[in-house]
C-alpha cells in the first residue's frame, strides 16, 4: 500500500510538475517566436552601427526605432529591408556602391584567362554576382541567432556585407564551426557532380579505381581550380583516363557554380571529391 501511495503521489507530483514546467515553456516559446522579428531588424541596423560594434542590445533598440516606419512591412519579407536600410543612413550608402564594382571586376578577369571574353559568358558572370549578393541576405533571416551574432562581429570588422564574401578567407575562422553542411546540402553537391561525371563503365579494372580531386571555388561558387591529389602512374593509361574524366566532371560548366548555400562558402572554399564507380558497379 505504502509503495502504491508513494508511487501515485510521485506520479501526481510529476504530472503537476510537467504541467507547471511545460505550460510556461509553451508560453515562452510563443514569446521566442515573437522575438525573432525584432532580431531580423537588428541585422539591418548593424550596418548603421558599424563603427560602434560593441553594445549589442543598444544596437537592437536603435535600429528598431529608426526603421519602424519602413521595416514594418519588411518584417515578413526579408529582402526589401536590406536594400532600403542603407539608403536612410548616411554611412551605409558608400559601402554598397563599393562592393558592386568589386563584384563585377573580379569575375571578369577570372573568365578572361580561360575563354577570351565572350559576350555570353561575361553576361552569365554578371548575372550571377548580382543574384548572389541578394541570397546571402535572406539566408541571414533563416540563420540561428548565434550565427547572427557572429556575423555582427564580422561586419563590424569588415563594414560591408558583400566584401566579406569576396575577401572571405580572412574571416573563415569565425563561422566555420557553427554551420556544418547538412546532409541534404552535401547530397545536392554530390548529385550535381554525379550529373557532370561521365564514367566509362567498360574501363579495365574500373572497380579498383579511386581518384581524389581538390576543388577550389571562387567566391561566386564557380569552380576556380581542379587539382588531382593522386599521382597518375606513368604506366597505367586506364587510370589516367579515369582521373581525367574526374577532372572533366569538376570543370564541367554544368557543375559551376556549385550548388552550395552562399553562406557556407567559407567552409567549402576548397573541398575534395573522391570519384569511384563503386555504387555504379554495385560494390
Amino acid at each position: 500500500m505504502r509503495r502504491g501511495v508513494i508511487l501515485s503521489g510521485l506520479l501526481h507530483a510529476a504530472a503537476i510538475a510537467i504541467a507547471v514546467v511545460g505550460l510556461p515553456q509553451s508560453w515562452q516559446k510563443i514569446d521566442v517566436i515573437a522575438q525573432p522579428i525584432p532580431v531580423q531588424i537588428v541585422d539591418i541596423s548593424e550596418i548603421t552601427n558599424l563603427p560602434k560594434a560593441a553594445p549589442e542590445p543598444v544596437a537592437e533598440e536603435k535600429p528598431q526605432e529608426a526603421k519602424k516606419p519602413e521595416p514594418e512591412p519588411e518584417k515578413e519579407k526579408v529582402a526589401p529591408p536590406r536594400e532600403e536600410p542603407p539608403e536612410p543612413e548616411v554611412a551605409p550608402p558608400p559601402p554598397p556602391p563599393e562592393p558592386k564594382p568589386e563584384v563585377k571586376e573580379d569575375p571578369k578577369p577570372k573568365p578572361k584567362p580561360e575563354p577570351e571574353a565572350k559576350p555570353e559568358q561575361v553576361a552569365q558572370v554578371k548575372d550571377k554576382p548580382r543574384r548572389r549578393p541578394k541570397p546571402p541576405k535572406p539566408d541571414f533571416t533563416s540563420v540561428l541567432k548565434t550565427v547572427e551574432d557572429i556575423r555582427k562581429h564580422r561586419k563590424t570588422t569588415e563594414k560591408s556585407e558583400e566584401k566579406p564574401r569576396q575577401t572571405a578567407s580572412a574571416q573563415s575562422a569565425n563561422n566555420i564551426p557553427d554551420q556544418p553542411l547538412t546532409l541534404s546540402e552535401l547530397d545536392a553537391i554530390r548529385r550535381q557532380f554525379i550529373s557532370c561525371w561521365n564514367v566509362d563503365p567498360g574501363t579495365k579494372d574500373l572497380a579498383k579505381m579511386v581518384v581524389s580531386v581538390r576543388v577550389s571555388l571562387n567566391p561566386d561558387r564557380t569552380v576556380r581550380e581542379a587539382q588531382l591529389l593522386d599521382n597518375i602512374g606513368a604506366g597505367d593509361r586506364y587510370y589516367r583516363s579515369f582521373a581525367e574524366s574526374a577532372l572533366r566532371a569538376v570543370r564541367n560548366p554544368r557543375c559551376s557554380p556549385v550548388r552550395l548555400p552562399p553562406k557556407k562558402f567559407e567552409m567549402m572554399k576548397t573541398f575534395i571529391l573522391r570519384f569511384s564507380a563503386k555504387e555504379m558497379l554495385g560494390l
Binding site: 575563354p115 554525379i194 564514367v199 563503365p201 560548366p253 567552409m267 573541398f271 571529391l273 564507380a277 563503386k278
Partner: protein, 451 residues
Amino acid sequence: MTSNVAPKPGRPRAAVPLLMAVAASLCLAVPRPAAADLTIDIGTGQIEPMPIAVTEFRAKEEGEAARLGQDITRVVTADLERSGLFRPINPQAFIQSLPSLDIQPRFSDWRVIGGQALVQGAVLVQPDGSLRTEFRLWDVLGEAQLVGRAYEAPPANWRRVAHIIADAIYKRITGEEGYFDTRVVYVAESGPEERRVKRLAIMDQDGANHKFLTSGRELVLTPRFSPSTQEITYLSYFNDRPRVYLLNIDTGRQEIVGDFPGMTFAPRFSDDGNKVIMSLAVDGNSEIYVMDLRTRASARLTNNPAIDTSPCFSPDGSRVVFNSDRGGSQQIYVMDAGGNSARRISFGEGRYATPVWSPRGDLVAFTKINKGEFFIGVMAPDGSGERLLTKGFLVEGPTWAPNGRVLMFFRQTRGAGGRTRLYSIDLTGYNEREIVTPTDASDPAWSPLIP
C-alpha cells in the same frame, strides 16, 4: 522504486567515461579535419558518350587536298561516333572556325556548345605528291593539348590515315588502344539454303574496302586472324576434306596446316602468332592440339573421351580456354598451356560454347544457349561476373576487337528467309550496331591493328 530507477541511470553512468572519451577524441580530431578539406564521395556517374567537336581538316587551297580533308573528317567522325564512347557535335553548332592549325582554339567557344574535346586538323598535298595530315586533340575544359601528330602517306591511303587519327584520339581519351585501323574477315553467304555458297571476305572494320578472298567453290568455315600478322587461318573443305589452311592476305599465298589423319577444325592463333591451337577429331572423339607454325611440331593437350573443342589461348599464352562436355553438358574450361589442371569456369544455367579470351586478358566472351535462346556474354577467366550482353534467335561466334573492348558476332533472324548479319557491341552491353555487308555474313574475325 529506487531500486528500479537506479540501474537505468547506472547504464548511462557506465557510458559516461566512454562518451567523454569519444567527445575528447572528437575534440582532438576536429582541428585536423578543419584544416583538411571535406571529402565528398562520388560513387557513380553518367554513362554518356563524350561530346567531341571534330572540325574539318582544312587544306590551304581548293582541289584534291580539300576534298581529302573532308573525307578524312567524315571518317574520323564516323569512327568516333560508332564506338559509342563519343558524341560528335553537329558542325553547324560550331562558333569558331579553325581554318588552320596555327589558330589557337578559343576554348570558351567550344565549352559553350557543350564540347569537352576538340579535334583540329589540316591536310596538305606535298610537292612529291604525298598527303600530309596533321591534327591536334584539345581538352576543352582543361584547356590543354592532349595529342598532336602528323602523318604522311600516299593520298590513296587517306582512309587508313583517318582511322589512325581516330585511333589516336580514342586511345588518348579512353586509355584503350584503338581499333579503327583494323579489318574483319568473315564468311559471306549467298544462295539458297541447300546450295549455300560460302566465301571468305574481308573488309575494313567500318565495312569499307570490301572484297572476297575465295571463289566459293569450296565450303569455308571459322576464319581467324593471326594476332600478330596479316594472316588468317580457316577451315576449308577442299576436295571434301576438311583441313585447316593458312592464308596470307597480302600475298594471297595459301598453305595447309598439317595433314592430320582425321578432321581438324576450330583453329585459332596464339597471341604471338607462332602457334595454332585447334581440334582434331578421330573416330568421333575430338581432342585439342597445338601446332608450332615454325617447326610444324604438334602436341596433344587433352586426352578425354568427351568432346574437347573451341580452344583459345590467353593473351600471355600461359592458359587455354576451351569447350568440353566432360562434365555431362557443354561447358567452358580453362587449363594451362601444357594441357594440365583443367578447371570448369561456367556454372550458369544452360550450355556454353565458343569461348574467346579477350586480348585485354580480363574477360572471356562466349555463346550461351539456354531454353532455346542464344546469348553473347562475357565472364572473368575465373568464371566470376558473368554478364549476358545480347540475345536472339541465333547469336553466335563472338570475336574481340584487338583492344579487348568491342565484340563482333553474327545474328540470324528467325525463319527460312531470315537474314544473317554481323553486329558489334561494346563489352558494357551498350551500343549494338550492324556492320553493313553486301550479302549474308557469319563467323566474323577481327584483325589486329594493321602494322
